[in-house]
Symmetry: C3
Subunit: 349 residues, 3 copies
């Protein structure tokens, strides 16, 4: 690992990309403040109800526009009442005799879109995006979907690596997820294309620990894949036997260099009713998340205290380096469709 | 606006000037710690009861002298008992065989003066001030005076502009001060001389909202002036009819770059008894102040987060730029008596 | 005083030295996190029970190793379960097919030693120390020993100077230690050798104040010495008459530039039973410590706020400059055995 190993921080800022700013239902009548890649944004709905995202700073005296109010689909600053339309153009300066509209009174606008229950924002202002937001998987018949939003104090890369890293589960989540039982040698097939990388695990036994026993009491053949999709999606898929299917999609938002917001969609189908699985798994999932969030914070504290990362990796770190390379290419806007790349490794679980 | 618009902070540090350090009654037997322009000061009273201001740092081991005590008009350090007189000369080093007085043991002294109920300090050490502290207006017969000291988290300039800015009152103080009623076109006559700038509003209707209805239930002709006086005085004057007169003088102290202390003297005469007006207006004034302080803090947060101001102004920003230019000239010590300068603008209120 | 007077901070970082990391009894089954000279360390006991100190950062993903657990004398990281032996060599990477040991997976090891009830760490990693940890005085028959550990927010130098400074006791600890009684002129004989400096006070009256009255109600001849021993030991010795003997040894650990941990051993013999003296003196000592810690913190705040120290010294500052010079020489590793150096001064106490 290059950038990670020599003292810098593995922070990649992919700006030509869509990120979840908030849930659709969080943006109602009043403006909402959010941050993406360290940029303060104000979200509001225009006269047609469509979401709009502006830099959260009034052109006049730099008051946060998110302190203001929505005035008939225009955003009104709380300090002097300047009004902006959905495009960030100032359309009213109270008291001023004469025209309000003027280029110097405009506020940078970020493309915004509503899709799959989220308000998405493109992190590059005043630009026409060439891509579309990621489409979340939809629940088929017989599936239950649970959505959760949480925040961790870590870089986007550390959060993604953690979400798609199998080896840590046996230690950080000991007893909950994977246990300390017998070791099996399995294989992982890693496939990388231009915009994603996937690890497919072959020969994996049923996960041990409480979580495994609940979802598949009778054991069975396991199909398990971990997937990273640019710019910020982590996807974990489990099939146990023919009945059980879990698809956990985490859409990450890089709030600041060391703060990442995770929007998780958990789709599942088991032989038990959805409400029952949810009832049992939710506290387990919450505990797993808290352990991950705690460790990510301590890891962030450590790398900041030491002034940079000093990482070393092994074959068992199946996806970390691949994710990093994809992020750095996307940051540099070098997303030329590359040839598919494959490799197989062995590991003991 | 130049300095304000291109990413810097509108911080002017006028050091050859008198500022209010504290109220006369705050400085009694024991030393008091205050900060002006970021400089930590210790105030104490000499043997004659006159106030004295020294740098708040013992020459010996740099302990804050304000932790010490007054010993017969001398300031004694709490750590090793070194004693300083009103001129900052060390007159006693406990334990030392030999003379205490020595140039290296002196502490910088700032000129101090007691006037109009305040202790004033000149922000340049060991210098003989060529000017005198500002003289506050005195209450004539029939007038009531109220004094209040508050602190805001903003630059001196932002606090002054806020104090003398009419347009924001209709928005930030909606309902309290100016309302959302009919619009009147009025004129403002701006007059600038070497050390002050004033805006006189002509044709202004009686202020609407609660405050207006209280002070002048019957309406009447309004005379309204907003005045900035170097180095840090904001003055708002209202006459409504022949009976009602309000003169609000705010003497500001730049505590730090983003912290300003406001010492307000409110003089007024109405047809109602003073105590009654005070009873009714005090909660309103307090609420107005809290809204201003809240907005100034959010504005400061924003400009610091963005690494500088990115302002744009219109004709309606009547005094902001003038105040800034006077402050910058005073900072550079270029207070040559300039010719008087006048201009008239129109605005809708 | 040179380095101290021109705006820098009197911070000397003597790395080729042993410091107390923790008490023996603080290091049991589980790993312990400590900091020395700003370096985060993890302490744990190897299979033989001997203490070991590693840099508190897993070579893999930089998680603090102190979050982990001791696994049969090996330190196991809490994140992915990497295991390290007492030498900092990685001996297990869970999941990895193949050899775990590899130079890039090692963690810097700091020499560690257990002695006199403390775990000592040498502040230079992967080096063979040429010196041994300081040996604390042992209580002879009839002596009582009390141990206490406290922390102050100050540089090592400021803490040492404070611990060995007599003049401040009459002011900061007024009434508790020395009083405001009659002044006596005494002499101090200062002797400096390669690794220590000592001040012996001649003609000193019995300390006044509460502390003095307790330990020696009948007065008597006083022998008093203050001693600094490299790298970080302050020793105060009192004999009052033939019966009373106090030896206070404070072994300091520079935790960070402005944080110092003091490990005090108080040995004493009086004509009263040890438990009684302890009962009476403990609250007094605690109050003295709190006053010192409070002042050191305020002093640190002041020098940091002013961006450096601006000290001036007199003859009465008997040891401060000597301690500083010894520390700076040790930091530069110039500890050549110098000729003994003596001088006598007079002071009024």
């Amino acid at each position: 690992m290059n950038q990670e190993s020599n003292g810098g921080f593995s922070v990649a800022r992919v700006t030509r990309a869509w990120y979840v700013a908030c849930g659709s239902r969080e943006l109602r009548g009043e403006p909402v403040a959010r941050k993406i890649l360290g940029i303060p944004l104000v979200l509001f709905r225009g006269p047609d109800g469509k979401p709009s995202a502006l830099l959260d700073r009034c052109a006049h005296r730099n008051a946060p526009l998110s302190l203001g109010r929505s005035a008939g689909g225009r955003l009104e600053c709380a300090y002097h009442g300047w009004q902006y339309n959905a495009a960030g153009v100032c359309v009213k300066v109270p008291g001023l005799v004469g025209e309000a509209e003027k280029t110097t009174r405009e506020v940078p606008r970020f493309p915004a879109r509503e899709q799959d229950g989220f308000v998405w924002v493109y992190a590059m202002p005043d630009e026409n995006p060439a891509v579309e937001p990621y489409r979340l998987p939809k629940p088929d018949r017989g599936y239950t979907e649970v959505r959760r939003t949480v925040e961790v104090e870590s870089t986007l890369h550390a959060a993604l690596e953690n979400a798609l890293d199998m080896p840590h589960t046996a230690f950080l989540h000991k007893g909950l997820f994977r246990g300390a039982g017998r070791t099996h040698r399995i294989r992982a097939r890693v496939t990388r294309s231009a915009a994603q990388v996937e690890a497919e695990y072959i020969g994996e036994p049923r996960p041990e620990g409480l979580a495994g026993r609940i979802v598949s009491p009778s054991g069975g053949v396991v199909t398990h894949s971990d997937r990273f999709i640019l710019p910020s999606i982590a996807q974990v898929e489990y099939r146990l036997g023919s009945e059980n299917h879990f698809l956990i999609t985490t859409v990450c938002t890089p709030v600041e260099d060391f703060r990442t917001r995770l929007h998780a969609s958990i789709l599942f189908r088991t032989r038990f009713p959805g409400w029952l699985v949810r009832l049992i798994l939710e506290p387990v999932a919450l505990r797993i998340f808290r352990q991950d969030a705690g460790m990510l914070k301590r890891q962030s504290d450590a790398v900041r205290r030491f002034g940079g990362e000093h990482y070393t990796s092994t074959e068992v770190d199946v996806l970390g380096l691949q994710i990093w390379q994809l992020l750095k290419r996307a940051e540099a806007d070098e997303l030329t469709p590359s040839e598919e790349w494959k490799r197989e490794i062995e590991l003991d679980v």
